[in-house]
């Protein structure tokens, strides 16, 4: 398909890792700095789109050998259950809380339940973007 894309493919191999790591950073930094689940997911999706352009869609399929619809469902489930979780403690649906913990390696770290919710958002958005683009892209 792309016999002369050596440069592109090589750069992609490096760049995609950087993008993914950056997107993780954006995702985790969301609580205090610009970023969050939505933009993090979009950036991650961009890495996969780059791979699909440089190689092809099949490569991405092999990298994520799960049906995107399951990822969407899992994301929705996590986001929904994180809201239900607060109800177990007698609070309203989607009540969020946070606290500081001493974790090994990381030291004093703030952990918020909002992160669980954000993971749900993250998974949903990645799966939605990839699903839309690949569904349309495969339809030739």
């Amino acid at each position: 398909m792309h016999p002369n894309d050596v440069i592109l493919q090589t750069i992609t191999k490096c760049l995609s890792f950087i993008i993914v790591i950056f997107s993780f950073y954006v995702f985790l930094a969301g609580h205090h700095n610009p970023g969050g689940g939505f933009i993090g997911a979009l950036t991650t999706a961009c890495a996969f789109i780059l791979i699909s352009v440089a190689f092809d869609i099949e490569t991405v399929r092999k990298m994520i050998p799960v049906d995107y619809k399951y990822i969407m469902a899992t994301g929705l489930l996590i986001a929904g259950l994180s809201g239900v979780g607060s109800m177990i403690f007698g609070e309203n649906f989607l009540w969020q809380t946070f606290d500081y913990f001493d974790l090994p390696l990381l030291g004093n770290t703030e952990l918020a339940t909002a992160l669980l919710f954000d993971i749900g958002v993250y998974l949903v958005v990645i799966a939605v973007v990839l699903s839309i683009i690949f569904t349309i892209g495969e339809e030739h």
Partner: protein, 800 residues
Amino acid sequence: MNALHWATISPLLLAIIIPFIYKYARSIHTGWFVLALPTVLFVYFLSFIPTTSSGEVIEHSIPWIPSLGIHFNVYLDGLGLLFALLISGIGALVVLYSIFYLSKTKEQLNNFYVYLLMFMGAMLGVVLSDNLIVLYAFWELTSLASALLISYWSTREKSRYGAQKSMLITVFGGFMMLAGIILLYIMTNTFSIREIISQADIISSHELFIPAMLFIIIGAFTKSAQFPFHIWLPDAMEAPTPISAYLHSATMVKAGIYLVARFTPVFGGSETWFWILSLFGMATLLWGSLSAVRQKDLKGILAFSTISQLGLIMSLLGLGSAALYFNDGQANSLYYTAIVAAIFHLINHATFKGSLFMAAGIVDHETGTRDIRQLGGLMTIMPVTFTITLIGTAAMAGLPPFNGFLSKEMFFTAVVNATEFGIFNMETFGLAFPVIAWVASVFTFLYCCILFFQTFSGKFEPTNFKKVVHEAPIGMLISPVVLVSLVVIFGLFPNILSKSLIEPAVASVLPYLTAGEIGVDIYMWHGFNTELFMTFGVVILGVILYALMKKWIQLSIYKRERDPFNRFYDGALFTLSSGGKKFTDAYMTESFRRYLIYIFSFMVLFLGFMMVRLNVIDLVPERTAEISIHEITLVVVMIAGAITVALARTRLTALAGLGSLGFGMAIFFVLFRAPDLALTQLVIETVSTVLFLLCFYHLPLYKETKDSKPSKIVNAIVASGVGLVVTLLAISSHNNKLFEPLTEFFVNASYDEAGGKNMVNVILVDFRGFDTFFEIVVLVIAAIGIYAMIKGKVEEKEGL
């Protein structure tokens, strides 16, 4: 529940059981099971005569919807009792007649009797209800039952036409009446007729008095087939003859008369009421009698005759309402004799018209035709029917010694006296009344002659008939014989009615009179006076006209049977359906652009109108920040991008323009310090541009829109309108901030309560996480939708 309640709804209860009786007792004619009920009801209602004639009323109430003031009140006074007796008495006779008229084997008797009982119960409900909403419910039930009975032979097209027509006209009137009822409720705050009557003074000075009156009158006129709503009645003659006799001569068409009589204490005494009732009554009287002469069908003649007689009663009620003008009890007999005549004629008409319909049914049943051009010479073959018809037509024509003579003399008295009323300009216009009444009576006499002589005299032509003609079975003759006996009895001894029925009924119409005061005294001979000479004139001129019939029957107007007013009805119905279709076709063009123009134009006009009306346009900048050079540059770039999109000739150009808009927006987010938004906007813009490019792969070549110039101009106007209105709205609303935003709370709470320094994200996942949750649901739905559209394509089947 009181016995009267049970009596009122008993026909409806029996109607539920009828289908079972019909199914499990096929060997016996279902009518026999029905017959008992009206008979028992008749006897039951007879037992109230002593009560009402002593001026007492009976009243029982059960709550139905008390919170809305709707109670199922039965209220029995003279007027209600008179109607209840008519309904149950003639009902019993009609059921008896129908047993012999309708074949046990060929007809769907269960339907017939269910509808008939529905009607009977509804009619009793109308005349016995004191609550107007209950009355209205029963009123509409009579319309429904009537339409069902007219279309009893629903395989015939004319039956369905007649049923539809009567339904449309009477339900139209019913709705008008409902509007009148609601207006009365607004004025008096009650639905009870008696309480409304007790507040008649308040009503007559209220500004809604005239509208309420007109609505009630339209309701009564449509039901009672008054001019110009009379056109449904001749077409209702497609019903089986027992039904025509019962509904369309004796009971349902008198529901309007009942309503007018019932509301006379409320509206009577006013000039409008007086003139509308008497003029339309007179017009109906004249038009009905003129039209009846043109008919060739026995039931057609009887239908127009009914219209004419109903007009007579209506005009008498109108004239009599003048008595209420002097409602201090000083009224003399001059005014209220009209009411007495109306009530008396109501009874008389029910007796002779019922018998005539039954006779016409017998003729139809035994000869197979109702066409007077084929009938003739039945005198010796059907002697009993002949006698019945003779008495019935003589009473209808107003000949002594039958009851029609008496009531017509009283009618003449009322119209002759009308010039002496001295109110409502009657001293000048009153002269028209005797003239119209007299002319109408001449034509009444004439159609009675036609009806009678063309059926029974002349030569019998056996070839005209498909059947062997013979007299009807005895069972079919009982009912008309009973009715004509009443015609004779009421004619010879009218005073047996006056104390028992007429006086209490008149007392209900004119409530300030007590039964004793009225002193109704009807007698056969009242000396040589104007009325008698008018009757002589009617007979003489009628005989002459009948003798000369061969001459004037050639006139073209007498060849057309159908009422010319039908043309308006049919035309209106056609215009309504075809016009409705045209109108819908005109704007439902299935063009998506067209609908968008409607939506946007509405938005522009509505928002623009409201902004101008509420005077909220405020373009003076107050709280605006300074505009920097970056912003101006960016705006210029974005405007250029927008123009590029609008004028692009290829898709890629349009996409490039769109992209520049999106990235410009992202830079604006940066300038306005919204980093999260800027990031998201940048990535989303990129992803959606990729998606656009993917879609282009599948799209056909870019075509320029082929809009004509005018529609382009319209598009441009609408588009600039939307832009202008939205801009004005945005600027004005910025200048009209009514309260401080919530920002302060979020700024303070985002770290303290949610532990996050990124306020935007804290709002998204914590304070208002619920929104975010459903936004990701939206995304999932969109993805699944795209997946389903592309992967789940159903192959187009042939022929689809």
